[in-house]
């Protein structure tokens, strides 16, 4: 499979995503400069973490206007898989590919540590390899992961099983203490209504190798592969 990894000025997990898909999962990767107006021949697009445009004004606010984002939108509209990690999630929100917005962490601090997330919906292209309710240990690293949306939208997300990952304890309890940033309903990751776009704050690419002490994140990436293999042969965007 061929994964596109978008590079914005200030992206800094782009190499990490390239590494994990190429060297760990043995897939093809194409790095896509943000000024590219079109993409082609890709099976999935990853919007990596980092500080696109320095996170100035609002995180993701400026990046969403990069030419490549039109291509990403189109790719998504054609059913292509799009994964936004951390800053990538924030960009997808600003771009309107996912509902809601990010506020500063409750602590006002940047927080980098392992957290536990519970798989609330295992029937997505991003979680197919997980058991329902499975608890994954995946690191977060952000200052704006405090997810917010209005009550109506939230109800919609919950009703359509669009809340895919929620912060929880090691035992799988969804509690305020287990929430690293104060996000609404302990939300760590959501998908769009169609189910082909996922945004998540935790970094699966940082927990996909034994040497890094934790391989849970790999399940997310492996799920993508699996669903791409199962999918009827039509190369999106091609």
């Amino acid at each position: 499979m061929k994964f596109g990894v978008v590079i914005f000025p200030g992206s800094n997990c782009d190499h990490d995503c390239q590494h994990v898909f190429e060297d760990v999962l043995g897939q093809q990767v194409e790095m896509i400069w943000h000024k590219e107006p079109t993409v082609s021949g890709l099976d999935a697009i990853v919007i990596p973490g980092g500080f696109s445009y320095g996170d100035y004004l609002r995180t993701g606010a400026i990046a969403r206007f990069s030419p490549v984002m039109n291509a990403v939108k189109e790719f998504a509209q054609n059913g292509g898989l799009v994964l936004g990690i951390c800053n990538g999630f924030q960009i997808l929100l600003e771009a309107g590919l996912l509902p809601g917005a990010m506020l500063r962490n409750r602590s006002l601090h940047f927080v980098c540590k392992d957290v536990y997330v519970r798989v609330e919906n295992a029937a997505t292209p991003f979680t197919g390899a997980c058991k329902p309710g499975q608890v994954l240990k995946i690191p977060v690293a952000h200052a704006e992961g405090n997810y917010y949306t209005d009550p109506v939208t939230l109800a919609g997300l919950q009703a359509n099983a669009q809340v895919v990952l929620r912060y929880c304890t090691a035992e799988g309890q969804v509690t305020p203490e287990a929430n690293p940033n104060g996000s609404l309903d302990n939300i760590a990751g959501i998908r769009n209504a169609e189910g082909n776009v996922l945004g998540m704050m935790p970094h699966p690419e940082r927990s996909a190798e034994e040497m890094l002490g934790n391989e849970d994140g790999r399940l997310i990436l492996a799920s993508m592969l699996e669903s791409l293999r199962k999918r009827p042969l039509k190369m999106v965007g091609a």
Binding site: L57, R58, A61, I62, F65, E94, G100, A101, L103, R104, N105, R106, S107, L108, N146, Y148, T149, D150, G182
Partner: protein, 81 residues
């Protein structure tokens, strides 16, 4: 013209920064401060002398970029430099 833009969190949206400041003020002995809200304030010069045009532009800027209307509201004033 000169544009002055205020972008603030919508009512009802929790403002962690405001809370923190309120708490800090309190422990500094400023017991009588309440409902602290923190927002952004932007100033810019606009090469545009027609007030109506300038208004339209600034409104667009806010809608498109400067404010995220999911969580924020904005207001602006225009003045001659």
């Amino acid at each position: 013209m000169k544009a002055k833009i205020h972008v603030t969190l919508k009512q009802g949206i929790l403002d962690p920064q405001g809370k923190a400041i309120e708490h800090a003020l309190d422990s500094l002995g400023f017991k009588n401060a309440e409902n602290v809200r923190v927002g952004k304030y932007m100033e810019m010069d606009l090469n545009e002398h027609d007030k109506a045009k300038a208004e339209a532009t600034v409104k667009q800027m806010c809608e498109k970029l400067l404010a995220n209307t999911v969580i924020e509201q904005y207001r602006y004033e225009l003045s001659e430099k």
